[in-house]
């Protein structure tokens, strides 16, 4: 039973990182109805830049984290300006944006390999002080708690920002009806760029937390989370922020529980995606899907 409880806790920890990655993904989709397939590359670069700041520039992780997050946000502005803005007025903008964001993801990945090397790299042991607690037979580390706290704060912060602030309401207005937002005086192009900034900053932050959690970072680590992130936002309902959070945790739980029950990690992805498939059969628009998935 303790093993089960332990896996449950682990699932929530890793699920919170998936959720953080996925809310950035789903935010851009919710506003623009497009998938930014360079999101996973930003996840990778965010983690690698944080590592570089710690290892080579000798910074504390508490300084490197916000700096690398800011850097990731700037990557988002570049993705918008290079991959999406030039195609926005084309009739095939949804499809062409998908392709050009894949291209930019490859550029980012190649840059990561060129600058940081192709090897798997690790945060130095001394990066973050780790305490280990045993509570009723369940092991929890202070690092895990910190990761889940940071992810939770960022997710709560985004939700509050979208609900309360003037810019957050403008983002929602653009998401709902671009033409109406424009007629109300919203600078739509600026709001879209800002949305990419927030989305990528959160994606980069998820990459840093992922790197801290597993200790290891590699230039291709975005690959595995890319498909998971997509599964998470489909599961939660495309464009839904709470859906992405719940979906992320559900996905993390299904992964670790599969490993715990089957005793092997071979079935991990198979079960997770089977669960996704089953949920979509029952609820085609996802758990929280208020927004209908586009059918063309």
């Amino acid at each position: 039973m303790n093993l089960f409880a332990q896996q449950l806790i682990n699932g929530i920890f890793i699920g919170s990182v998936y959720g953080l990655f996925a809310i950035g993904y789903t935010l851009v989709f919710g506003v623009l109805d497009i998938l930014n397939l360079a999101h996973a590359a930003v996840f990778t670069l965010g983690g690698l830049v944080a590592l570089w700041l710690v290892q080579s520039a000798g910074m504390s992780i508490w300084a490197a984290f916000p700096l690398a997050t800011l850097f990731s946000g700037i990557l988002g502005l570049i993705i918008n300006a290079v991959a999406f803005v030039p195609l926005r007025h084309r009739p095939d903008t949804y499809f062409s944006g998908l392709i050009s964001s894949i291209a930019l993801a490859i550029v980012f990945e190649s840059a990561a390999i060129g600058i940081f090397g192709a090897r798997t790299v690790r945060f130095p042991i001394s990066t973050i002080a780790v305490h280990i607690w045993q509570i009723a037979g369940v092991t929890i580390t202070s690092l895990q708690v910190e990761i889940v706290m940071i992810a939770a704060c960022l997710m709560a912060g985004l939700t509050r920002f979208l609900r309360r602030s003037r810019s957050g309401k403008a983002i929602r207005a653009v998401a709902e009806n671009e033409r109406a937002a424009r007629l109300l005086g919203v600078h739509v192009d600026g709001i879209i760029a800002f949305t990419f900034f927030i989305s990528s900053a959160l994606g980069g932050a998820a990459g840093i937390l992922f790197g801290l959690y597993f200790g290891a970072l590699s230039p291709d680590m975005g690959r595995s989370i890319e498909l998971k992130g997509l599964a998470v936002i489909v599961l939660g309902g495309m464009g839904s922020i709470p859906g992405a959070i719940i979906g992320g945790i559900a996905f993390g739980l299904s992964e670790v529980l599969t490993v715990a029950i089957s005793g092997t990690s071979n079935l991990r992805d198979a079960v997770a995606f089977t669960v996704l498939f089953a949920i979509l059969l029952l609820r085609p628009s996802g758990l929280f899907g208020r927004r209908q998935i586009r059918e063309t």
Binding site: R166, A170, R172, E176, L184, G185, V186
Partner: protein, 236 residues
């Protein structure tokens, strides 16, 4: 002259949607555009709001050339459009819709304005925290007008405000238009309901196929046999 439109031409691809239109709106006046569906009335309003590009001609607002000004700056200047079909933000609450109406204004005074709108449009007061999508068509039109007023317009562009509404609500809309004018607001009104819109207007233009075919004081157009035959038939 608050608004001067000179030889305006707007094209959609190869189609000329608005051809060489000139019109004036005097400060404090209500000017009506009437004409059949697809005549270019909405296109003209969208060109005035800056959401579609202009091919030729120019637009002067209080003497300033705004032909190439971006839409959000025109809103800041006080040109506010209440679009056809209302375009309320259905997933946001009535209050949020009103708040975003004041997007280009400084924060102070917004809460007081929302209170004033609730007073003027009691229907919104009861539903202030409801999602705008849950309102009826007439309520949504009231919200769209209130949201436009939140921006403190100098010139209000009203596109088909009575379209699809029950007769009682249509009367409410025209009462509001009259009241706004008494408060000194300048209004450019696009309407299919020619009888009622001419009754509240000072001047009117008739647009057909993207060009102005008739213009003059509203009272004169109301008794024009061609206008009566084409736009006031069918017992409207």
């Amino acid at each position: 002259m608050m608004l001067e439109v000179n030889h305006l031409t707007v094209t959609y691809g190869p189609i000329e949607a608005v051809h060489d239109i000139s019109l004036n709106v005097e400060s404090g006046a209500i000017v009506t555009l009437i004409g059949p569906n697809g005549a270019g009335k909405t296109t003209l309003l969208n060109a005035l709001s800056g959401v579609i590009p202009v091919r030729g001609g120019n637009i002067l607002f209080n003497g300033q050339d705004i032909t190439r000004m971006s839409p959000h700056r025109r809103v800041a200047e006080g040109i506010i459009q209440v679009p056809e079909g209302r375009l309320v933000l259905a997933g946001m609450t009535v209050r949020e819709n009103l708040e975003i109406g004041a997007y280009r204004r400084p924060k102070s005074g917004i809460a007081a304005d929302i209170a004033r709108m609730q007073e003027r449009f009691p229907i919104l007061k009861d539903r202030i925290e409801a999602s705008a999508g849950s309102l009826s068509g007439g309520e949504q039109q009231m919200l769209a007008i209130a949201r436009g007023l939140m921006a403190h317009p100098k010139l209000l562009l009203l596109d088909e405000p009575s379209l699809g509404l029950a007769p009682l609500v249509v009367q409410m809309v025209f009462d509001i238009v009259t009241e706004l004018r008494q408060n000194g607001l300048t209004i450019l009104l696009v309407e299919q309901n020619a009888r009622q819109s001419l009754a509240v207007s000072d001047n009117a233009y008739v647009i057909e196929s993207g060009a102005i075919v008739l213009e003059g004081p509203a009272a004169k157009l109301r008794s024009d046999p061609a206008v009566i035959r084409t736009y006031m038939g069918q017992g409207l």
